[in-house]
Subunit: 389 residues, 2 copies
């Protein structure tokens, strides 16, 4: 397999984009990535598109050729391929785009992630989103994504003495970072008190522990690392892209507080990249639910199992330790257009590794890690990026 | 890229499988492929799953880990990846599985295709299926998949003197072949008169010109060609796997009677395989609508543009020429569980190339071709297979 680099990035504003259609945001992010990577469309080899549920949200399937078409590229007769993995659809599309370039089958591909979620009612959207858990064995009995994650939180609190406030620390950090991110869905800061006392969704998780439903798109341009400097001054190498799956239903896991999909994807990714957690300066961690971010840090080996709560309390990942997380604002505050999230995480890491993150810049960032989850951890995708000096 | 072979095949009955759930049929086909390829599950590297619209049909997204889980394989923490490309979802999943093995990232993967379409009303199913065309620019104005294909048929009749009976010849052949296929949805034979006089769907297409909505699943086991004989006596090489896309909406095409996605995918596939149409003894052609099969034969170069009608009339692809098509019964009679179709085509070709197709066997088959379409040709996937002697 040849080495693969990220040559360009693009991203729309995340939020309630009622004046932009799905095809518009998909095209906007994709073109930005092409322009940023200085690639003419005639050199493009294909499009990979991560999207969770365009069928349910928009009554439109088969959306990869749709985006390519309305970008004016139908005449090139390129391959356009949609990938779905619940909330991890974006990172999974990146995995597939990475393999396509690594294999040598394609030279340059755009990997996009896009989701339009706010054109239906919140109730309907919640129903659609919940369908990434096990419909027949979880949803039928009344479970929802937040209620399942709430069980993980309760168990973690019981098992390790994690406090309600420890969960709340991550959303506070996320909003703090998003206040510096012009593309973020939420740019307001929130306090620990506000998170702890936010309207209850599923005990102990309040509204401010849960990422929003957002519209938005993000894209990256991939190409062979060899020759990458023709397109960018700062190629970012995909040092690892790894996927692992687990049981669909939470009740089938060996341990409610451990996402084995993250454990395995993480181990494989660190092994492929020949890195360890302490080598990572910037990480985008899937914090769709505050507890999810906390256990992910444990499962990825950034902190020992059970110590996630203390680490949050101490702000160890908020600027005080070797690894800083969610400089974008995370899913919680940058926003959560499901299929776009995994790509947006990588866009933020590329900004950081290039030194273009402005107010959010982590000094000397060389290695970045992105972690994206589907369902309650039935899928995890871990990507490791490395700045090429 | 290393060479990739098909080591095992599996397939459920196609039809109205009201007593089997989506997860059951997915697992059945996958396990058959593993057993046929003599691969222990501990050696499996991952699962690719083609599926069009499980969200709309079953209120279940994120289905690739679901199938892996209920197959009892969650403990291996393998990657499980869903691919969607409308009616071409199955062939697209095969493309992705092929790239994954060719790249060297994975050694052995199961590629499955599955769809469960008969648990909703026919009206609802038609609505879901139509969403593989352009919702905003076609469906909103009352178009449906059959009505769009009917326009292609009318134009072809006008342009080239193709007759109504020429369209009907393919369904007659399909039912003839399916009568010998125990897994087919329809096993009854039909006459030219019956097709021509079948209830009108969209002039000139009658009910018997249109493939049914089916439930079903198919799977293949892929691995490196090198060493393939450890798993099978007759490895079948994937000599080419190519994807091309076109405009979503039919009215944007340069010519209504030419699917450029098929033209480009076909040319690239013959070039990759270093073959030409006359080298192909068996082909599975996407005949979701009779006219679709007819123009595909032209667009793939099996017959000159405009001569598809005459070729059908003469039975040139029904046993009288060098290439025989749709020995499975095609989408029309073997059945059309959307996401499974592209994989099922390849399963039939492998049976033929191995010499295991029994009553349907084409003598001396060495090279096979599968052609799978999404929407009205926004996506085409062409796969060329070759028996390794």
């Amino acid at each position: 397999m040849r080495d693969v680099a990220i040559l360009g990035i693009g991203m729309t504003k995340f939020g309630e984009l009622w004046d932009h259609s799905f095809r518009e945001i998909g095209i906007e992010a994709g073109f930005q990535a092409l322009v940023d990577g200085k690639l003419g469309s005639h050199d493009l080899g294909g499009l990979y598109l991560g999207n969770m549920a365009s069928g349910a949200f928009l009554e439109q399937e088969h959306i990869a050729p749709l985006i390519l078409d309305y970008a004016g590229l139908a005449g090139h007769h390129l391959p356009a391929i949609r990938v779905e993995a619940g909330g991890a659809s974006g990172a999974m599309a990146l995995h597939e785009g990475y393999l396509a370039v690594a294999s040598g089958a394609y030279d340059f591909v755009v990997v996009g992630g896009a989701e339009k979620m706010t054109d239906v009612s919140d109730t309907e959207a919640a129903r659609i989103v919940d369908a990434t858990a096990d419909t027949e064995w979880e949803l039928v009995f009344g479970a929802t994504l937040p209620s399942l994650w709430a069980m993980v939180a309760r168990k973690h609190m019981h098992e390790y003495g994690t406090r309600r406030e420890d969960l709340a620390a991550l959303p506070v950090h996320d909003h703090q970072m998003a206040s510096k991110n012009p593309l973020a869905h939420f740019r307001n800061k929130v306090t620990l008190d506000q998170v702890v006392n936010s309207g209850m969704v599923a005990d102990p998780l309040g509204l401010l522990d849960c990422a929003p439903l957002s519209d938005g798109a993000a894209a990256v341009l991939l190409g062979p690392l060899e020759g990458a400097r023709k397109y960018t001054d700062t190629p970012v190498k995909i040092a690892a892209s790894q996927v692992a799956c687990d049981t669909m239903a939470l009740h089938h896991r060996r341990d409610l507080t451990t996402m084995d999909s993250t454990v395995f994807a993480g181990k494989r990714a660190f092994s492929q990249a020949r890195r360890k957690p302490s080598d990572v300066q910037v990480a985008e961690i899937d914090d769709a639910y505050s507890i999810g971010g906390l256990v992910a840090l444990e499962d990825l080996g950034f902190v020992a199992k059970g110590e996630g709560g203390v680490a949050m309390r101490d702000g160890r990942f908020f600027g005080k330790g070797p690894t800083q997380i969610n400089t974008s604002g995370g899913l919680k505050a940058q926003g959560r257009p499901f299929g776009a999230v995994g790509v947006a995480q990588v866009v933020e890491l590329v900004r950081q590794l290039r030194g273009e993150a402005k107010e959010r810049q982590v000094a000397g960032a060389q290695v970045g890690l992105a972690h994206n989850v589907g369902g309650t951890g039935a899928t995890s995708v871990v990507t490791v990026l490395e700045r090429m000096n």
